[in-house]
Amino acid sequence: MALVEIRDVHKSFQREEQRIEVFTGLTLDIDAGSFTALMGPSGSGKSTLLNLVAGLDRPTRGVVRVGGAEVSTMSASQLAAWRARNIGFVFQSFNLLPVLTAYQNVELPLLLTNLSGKDRVERVKIALDVVGLSDRADHYPRQLSGGQEQRTAIARAIVADPTLILLDEPTGQLDAKSSQEVLSLLQRLNNEFNKTIIIVTHDAHAAERAKSTLHLEKGDLIEKRAVAAAR
């Protein structure tokens, strides 16, 4: 069953005099419980697609539906509330708040919920435990390695138990060992916790950890392939 439905999506940007067409009628489905790698050269529209699915950007035309909710027509405040409940987002450069500890960074999405302080503590502990950073809860981002920072970012993305986890080049700034740790963690989240994951990556090794890959080129879906290996 499709969790993400992209229907005839058009997206264009105006850059000075030039109008750049990113998508001209993109249509695709991403199933619930899938682990999908979005690949393609720079400028192919991978990150734009991720932003559209996350409701961070709006299509010029067409429909983006996630879990039955039509993201493309929501107001800014509805989108914010929807994102808080349904989306976990992980960035290439981690983007942890440097003034907060790992614990406090992970807790951020829970501040938007009605959970009690005690419940928030419980949830943050679980999230940090899942990513293997229980012993780093009181560390500030500057005291963590790149891999630990990215695992903290993943803990932040999963702590509110979202429907969908979106990752934009999550291993782009990590060494090989840390990349493997992060990818294994994502596989675990997908397999054990049944999280739907979409990862934008240039890295073929990272894509191999996904269950399926989508290849975009100049805004067109040129290949959809199931990956059998690596599981």
Partner: protein, 380 residues
């Protein structure tokens, strides 16, 4: 409350900058409260004066005395029920760096005409009976540690020489505009020391009915119109107001400086807030991605601005409220009853609120309106 940690963490991001911003707000509001208190004290002084008291001066000016002989002629006029007189002395005490008002008065008539000067009956009698006795305001006791019966020597400036008085009484004013740091002594002693010059600096005339003030004032001035020292008589309130109007431009200047200081600090605070918000463009975009709404981010930035402004306000206004009484400040005697009023504190807090709105609004709106995709593109 759950967002408090985020606000505190952001304020602690650049501790030195936060502390300096708070201190500049505190200093601005301290100066604002101080300057406004000068203005309100002057205004309160100008309002002082019994409705049934007139003051008669030399028409040429306050520094020119009147003959002591005028007293009996004023007293004889219809509607005049009491009379006293006084002379500015201008003596200095100790090293002369601290100043308090001191003047010679006719003791019994003066205290009778000024019921606002309150002291125990036995001290009053002791003052009346000692020709070199002095009556002092209670603040002088705490300032200099003087005691009843102690001799105090003033150095005359207008009337040279050492003038030694024995403290016979300590008064408490029921109206702060009287001043609680004044020394008064016998006019008789003063007159004797200056060689029986027979002068009075001014007369205080008590009248039967406040509604007769203008007519009686005119009749006094008419009596002396063609004399060598013509008089100018007005209500005591006018007399006080004439002192206040001497400060008129100063009041305006102080109000203007106060506003300029607040405005300058507003720019400093606004700049600090904008720098802080600009540095966090990426973080604000990340928070939006997590699900923080525009309204929530607007609120958080405003709370930060408010925390800076209000902390500064509490420090600055609190310091002004506590400091001046602690050092017994009275503007070298020119600002009797100087105090930071509740209305000044309220206006100060409103200024802080305005500061918060003005300094926080632009960065808060910027945070709320930040286009998240473009901001993330810059960060990524």
């Amino acid at each position: 409350m759950k967002y408090l940690r985020l606000v505190v963490a952001n304020l602690g991001r650049h501790k030195l900058r936060t502390v300096l911003t708070i201190l500049s707000v505190a200093l601005a509001l301290f100066l604002f409260a101080s300057l406004r208190s000068v203005v309100t004290t002057l205004a309160a002084t100008a309002q002082f004066g019994g409705a049934r008291r007139l003051v008669t001066l030399n028409a040429t000016g306050l520094v020119f005395p009147l003959p002591l002989a005028y007293g009996n002629r004023i007293k004889a006029l219809p509607g005049v029920t009491g009379l006293s007189w006084a002379n500015w002395f201008g003596g200095r005490y100790g090293d002369g760096n601290t100043f308090f008002a001191n003047f010679a008065v006719d003791p019994e008539s003066y205290l009778a005409i000024y019921p606002e000067i309150v002291l125990p009956a036995d001290q009053k009698q002791a003052f009346f009976q000692d020709r070199t006795g002095a009556l002092i305001g209670e603040r002088l006791i705490s300032r200099y540690g003087w005691k009843l019966g102690q001799n105090v020597t003033l150095q005359g400036t207008i009337f040279p020489g050492d003038w030694t008085f024995t403290i016979r009484g300590v008064y408490t004013p029921t109206d702060p505009a009287i001043g609680d740091d004044v020394l008064i002594f016998h006019h008789e002693y003063f007159d004797e020391r200056i060689g029986r010059a027979g002068i009075a600096g001014w007369y205080i005339v008590e009248i039967d009915d406040a509604s007769h003030a203008a007519a009686i004032a005119k009749s006094i001035d008419d009596v002396f119109r063609n004399s060598s020292s013509p008089t100018k008589t007005g209500t005591e309130r006018e007399f006080q107001a004439s002192f206040a109007t001497m400060w008129g431009n100063v009041s305006f200047l102080m109000s203007t400086i106060g506003l300029a200081v607040v405005f300058a600090i507003l720019l400093v605070t606004a700049n600090a807030m904008m720098m802080s918000a600009r540095e966090r463009t990426g973080e604000i975009a990340v928070l939006k991605t997590i699900g923080f709404s525009d309204r929530l981010l607007f609120g958080l930035v405003m709370v930060e601005a408010g925390a800076l402004a209000l902390t500064g306000a509490v420090l600055g206004l609190g310091a002004a409220k506590l400091l001046y009484p602690a050092i017994n400040f009275n503007g070298a005697g020119f600002l009797p009853g100087f105090k930071v009023t509740t209305s000044t504190l309220v206006v100060g807090l409103l200024v802080a609120l305005g500061l918060m709105l003005a300094s926080g609004l632009v960065p808060a709106l910027r945070a709320a309106r930040l286009p998240v995709v473009q901001a993330l593109r810059k960060v990524e």
